[in-house]
C-alpha cells in the first residue's frame, strides 16, 4: 500500500532516495500510464495503447509491458531491462497532490508528496539502515534545508507529467471527437500453445484516419497531434517483440 504524505523539509530532512530501487515500482505492472511527450522514447520497445481508467472509465494512454495483470516482461533478474524507464516510474517515489486549504477544500495548487512505503527510500534517522549503504543515495534536502539537485530534478519530472495530463487530454479529446478510437482485439498464442485474449485495449482506427477530410487532418496538424497519432500506430508493431519476449521467458 502507498502511504502518501506532503513533503516537509523538517519532517523529511533525513530522507534520501536510492535511484537503483526506483524501478521496483514497475516490477509487477503490465500497463504503465504514459504521456505524449515520452511516446518517442516508448515506441522504441513498447506498444502504446489506450486503456480505460478503472474509476472514471475515461481513456488513458498506457505502455504495454506484459500480457496479463502483474506481468512486466521488461523486468528480469531484479532489473529494468528496457532502454527507457517510463516517467510514471522515473518519478517514484514522488507524487503530485492537490493542495488543501484549512477548510479542506482544494485550493487549485499542487504539493509534492512522497510515498513513505516506497522501497527506494532510505531514512538515515531510523534504525532500519539498509545493508547496502555503499550504493549511491540522494538526499532530498541539503544540510541547510534547501532542496537538493536530485529533488529538483524529480520535481521537473512531476511537472512533465502534469503537462502530460493536459497533452493527453487534448489528444484523446480530438480522437474522440473524430471517432478515431477503436477497440483492439488481440488473441495471442504463445510457444507453449497457451493463448490469451487481450481485452480492454484501444487504439487508433487507421481506416477512419485515412478517410478524414482535408480540413480535419489540417486541424490535427495545427494542434500538433499527428506525430503522437502516428507514433501510437507504429508502436503497435512492438507487440511482436513483446510476444517473443514472453516466449523466451516461457522457454527460459
Amino acid at each position: 500500500m502507498e502511504n502518501l504524505v506532503a513533503i516537509d523539509n523538517k519532517i523529511h530532512k533525513n530522507i534520501s532516495i536510492n535511484p537503483a530501487k526506483v524501478a521496483l515500482h514497475g516490477e509487477k505492472l503490465n500497463l504503465i500510464p504514459a504521456v505524449v511527450s515520452e511516446f518517442m522514447h516508448l515506441t522504441v520497445q513498447h506498444p502504446i495503447v489506450f486503456t480505460k481508467h478503472g474509476e472514471t472509465g475515461e481513456f488513458v494512454c498506457s505502455a504495454l509491458l506484459g500480457f496479463e495483470v502483474g506481468e512486466n516482461l521488461f523486468w528480469q533478474n531484479g532489473q529494468w531491462q528496457a532502454v527507457y524507464l517510463p516517467l510514471q516510474i522515473q518519478r517514484q517515489p514522488f507524487f503530485i497532490g492537490d493542495a488543501v486549504d484549512d477548510d479542506s477544500t482544494k485550493s487549485g495548487d499542487y504539493v509534492v508528496c512522497i510515498d513513505l512505503n516506497s522501497p527506494a527510500i532510505n531514512d538515515s534517522a531510523s534504525t532500519n539502515i539498509p545493508e547496502n549503504t555503499s550504493s549511491e543515495v540522494h538526499a532530498l534536502f541539503t544540510e541547510t534545508g534547501e532542496e537538493s539537485e536530485y529533488f529538483h530534478e524529480a520535481k521537473q519530472c512531476l511537472a512533465q507529467l502534469l503537462q502530460g495530463k493536459v497533452d493527453n487530454q487534448r489528444l484523446i479529446g480530438a480522437l474522440k471527437k473524430l471517432n478515431l478510437i477503436q477497440a483492439l482485439s488481440l488473441e495471442v498464442t504463445f510457444i507453449n500453445e497457451t493463448s490469451t485474449r487481450l481485452n480492454g485495449l484501444y487504439t487508433i482506427n487507421q481506416d477512419k484516419l485515412a478517410a478524414l477530410t482535408n480540413e480535419e487532418i489540417a486541424e490535427l496538424h495545427q494542434q500538433q497531434l499527428l506525430p503522437a497519432i502516428y507514433t501510437m500506430i507504429t508502436s503497435l508493431g512492438q507487440i511482436y517483440p513483446l510476444i517473443e519476449r514472453k516466449n523466451a521467458r516461457l522457454n527460459g
Binding site: K52, H53, G54, E55, T56, G57, E58, F59, I181, Q182, A183, G200, Y202
Partner: protein, 519 residues
C-alpha cells in the same frame, strides 16, 4: 388518383405520451424525416389530457430502441433518473412467508443453447435448497448484492450481465419529445383533436384541431391513451377484456424518496404478493416508485391503502397516493383502415412483467419497418400487424397468468380463485400439460413473434416450485458431466461478478459524473 395509389407521405401521431413519441421517433429515424426526401411525421398532443405514465420498467429491448433513435445511453441515464434493471424478484408469491422469493433474471440459464440444465437441476442430488435461478444464473447473486450489470469501463449499451432499465416516465417522455423534435425532424403540434374526417373508403383523411385546422396524412397512429380516440371512439373497434383471467383492476401508486443519497438502488424490480394483488417497487436514482395493484373485487380501497401503507412504512403518511383504474385487455384488432393503435389505446395489462413499454417498442418497430409505401398494400400490412399483436397480447396474458396459477397461497380468495381452471386460458393449460414431463423448450414457442423465451417460463415454473417429472424418460439425463460443468461455471461467474462489479448506485453516480464511452 385512386385511394390505392396514394403514397404514404405523412404519418400523423395522435398523442404525446411515451407511445406517441417512441412511435414517431422510430418512424422518423428510419424514414429520414429530417431530410427533404424523408417521410413527414406530425405529432398532435393534447394540451389538456395529462400523460398517464405508469410504465417505469423496461425490457433489454429498450437498449436497441434507444440505439435506433440515436439517443446516447449516458444522456438517457442522466436525464431520465434511470437505473439498471436486471430482472424481477418475486417475493411472497409461492406461500407468502418472509423467506419466499425467486428471481426472473434477464440472463439465460448457463449453457442454455447447449443443453437443458433445468432437467438436471430438477434431478440433482444436492439438497442445498438453492433456488433454480440461483443455481443456473449468476444474475440473482448480482441483484442480491445490489451490484450493477457493468462497470464504468463498459461501453454504452454493452453489458457484462444483460440488463434493462427503470426510468421516470415523465422525464423519459420529455427526453423523447426533445430528441424527436430537435434531432429527428418530427413536427410537434400542441392542440386538441376535436373531429375525425374520413374519405369514402372510411380511411381517415385528417383530424381537425382547435387552433391548427385539419391535419391530414396517409397513416394515423392512435397513441391517445385510455380514451383510444381513433381506434376505439372513431372506428368503434371493440375492447376484449381479460378480466376473467387477470383480476387486477386498480393501482395505487406513490413516489418515495430514499432515506439518504447513498441508499442502495435495487438492481431489479421487486414484486411482492399481497392479499389481493401485489406491490411493485422500482428504484430510480432519486426516488422509488411503489404501487399496489389489486382487484377491487377482493379488496376495498381502504384495505388496499392499508396494505400499501404497511409496505412503505412510516414515510407513507406524507405521500400523495395516485389511483389509476386498470381495465385489463386489448382491442380486438389494432390496425383498422389507415389507423393503428399503440400503447394504452391498444390495451393494458398489469405491469407484472413490464409488458407495457415492450409492446409499444415492438409495435413502433413493426410499423416503422413494415410501413406500407402506398394504400394499396396497407390492408395486408394491417392484417399481419393484427395477427402478430393478437398473438403477442395472448402470450403476455398467458405468461402473467402463469405467475398466479403456480402459487400455493391460500390466505385469500384472490389467490385461490386465480387457480380455478376456468380462469386459465386453454393455450396455457396445454403448455402446462406438456411441462409435466419436460421443461419449457424453444419448440414450445415457434412463432417469429414470441415475446417471452422458453427460459422465462423455466425461471417462473421452477422458481415457484413446479416439478417436471423425468422418471419416464431417464435417457434425457445422460450427460451429468455437462450439467456439473455448467453448475460449476455458474458459481465461478458469481465469484467473478462479486469481485469486479460496482454497486448499482456507485455506477450510476459515476455515469452522471464521467459518462460512459461509446466504445
Amino acid at each position: 388518383m385512386s385511394f390505392n395509389s396514394m403514397p404514404t407521405k405523412t404519418v400523423v401521431v395522435v398523442g404525446g405520451g411515451i407511445a406517441g413519441w417512441l412511435t414517431a421517433g422510430r418512424i422518423a429515424a428510419q424514414h429520414r424525416t429530417k431530410t427533404k426526401a424523408g417521410l413527414k411525421v406530425v405529432l398532435v398532443e393534447s394540451a389538456s389530457i395529462p400523460v398517464v405514465g405508469v410504465g417505469e420498467g423496461t425490457w433489454p429491448t429498450m437498449r436497441n430502441t434507444l440505439i435506433a433513435l440515436g439517443i446516447s445511453e449516458t444522456e438517457f441515464i442522466r436525464t431520465c433518473d434511470a437505473s439498471f434493471k436486471q430482472g424481477a424478484k418475486f417475493a411472497k408469491w409461492v406461500d407468502g412467508t418472509e423467506q419466499d422469493f425467486y428471481y426472473h433474471p434477464l440472463v439465460l440459464p448457463q449453457g442454455f443453447s447447449q443443453g437443458d440444465l433445468a432437467a438436471y437441476w430438477l434431478n440433482r442430488s444436492a439438497k442445498d435448497n438453492n433456488s433454480f435461478s440461483q443455481d443456473v444464473c449468476f444474475q440473482e447473486a448480482i441483484c442480491e448484492q445490489g451490484l450493477a450489470p457493468k462497470t464504468i469501463r463498459t461501453p454504452e449499451f454493452s453489458a457484462i450481465a444483460n440488463y434493462a432499465y427503470h426510468l421516470d416516465a415523465g422525464k423519459f417522455t420529455k427526453l423523447l419529445q426533445k430528441h424527436c423534435t430537435e434531432q429527428l425532424g418530427v413536427e410537434h403540434i400542441i392542440d386538441d383533436v376535436i373531429a375525425v374526417n374520413t374519405l369514402e373508403n372510411e380511411d381517415i383523411a385528417s383530424v381537425t384541431t382547435n387552433n391548427h385546422g385539419d391535419i391530414s396524412g396517409q397513416l394515423f397512429v392512435d397513441c391517445s391513451g385510455f380514451s383510444s380516440l381513433l381506434l376505439g371512439k372513431h372506428y368503434q373497434v371493440p375492447f376484449k377484456s381479460c378480466a376473467d383471467v387477470l383480476f387486477i383492476d386498480t393501482a395505487l401508486s406513490v413516489q418515495l424518496p430514499y432515506e439518504d443519497k447513498n441508499s442502495p438502488i435495487a438492481s431489479q424490480t421487486i414484486s411482492t404478493g399481497q392479499e389481493a394483488g401485489w406491490i411493485w417497487d422500482i428504484g430510480l436514482q432519486h426516488r422509488r416508485g411503489v404501487g399496489y395493484v389489486y382487484s377491487s373485487k377482493y379488496s376495498s380501497e381502504q384495505q388496499a391503502r392499508a396494505v400499501l401503507a404497511k409496505y412503505v412504512g412510516e414515510p407513507f403518511n406524507g405521500l400523495t397516493v395516485k389511483k389509476i383504474p386498470i381495465v385489463s385487455g386489448h382491442r380486438e384488432k389494432f390496425w383498422q383502415n389507415n389507423c393503428v393503435a399503440v400503447g394504452l389505446s391498444a390495451g393494458f395489462l398489469e405491469p407484472l412483467e413490464a409488458s407495457s413499454l415492450v409492446l409499444i417498442e415492438l409495435s413502433a418497430q413493426m410499423i416503422s419497418e413494415q410501413l406500407p409505401a402506398t394504400r394499396e398494400v396497407m390492408d395486408i400490412t394491417a392484417k399481419r400487424f393484427n395477427e402478430t399483436f393478437l398473438y403477442r397480447w395472448q402470450k403476455v396474458i398467458d405468461f402473467l397468468k402463469l405467475h398466479y396459477i403456480l402459487s400455493k397461497r391460500c390466505d385469500t380468495d384472490f389467490w385461490t380463485d386465480n387457480r380455478a381452471p376456468h380462469t386459465i386460458p386453454d393455450s396455457l393449460q396445454e403448455l402446462m400439460q406438456l411441462w409435466k414431463y419436460r421443461s419449457p423448450a424453444d419448440y414450445d414457442f415457434t412463432s417469429n413473434n414470441e415475446v417471452f423465451p422458453a427460459a422465462s417460463y423455466q425461471y417462473v415454473l421452477y422458481g415457484m416450485g413446479f416439478k417436471s417429472d423425468y422418471s419416464l424418460s431417464p435417457q434425457l439425463l445422460n450427460d451429468w458431466r455437462f450439467a456439473d460443468q455448467q453448475f460449476a461455471k455458474n458459481s465461478q461467474m458469481v465469484q467473478q461478478a462479486n469481485k469486479s462489479l460496482p454497486t448499482n448506485r456507485e455506477l450510476l453516480n459515476k455515469i452522471c459524473q464521467y459518462g460512459l464511452s461509446t466504445i
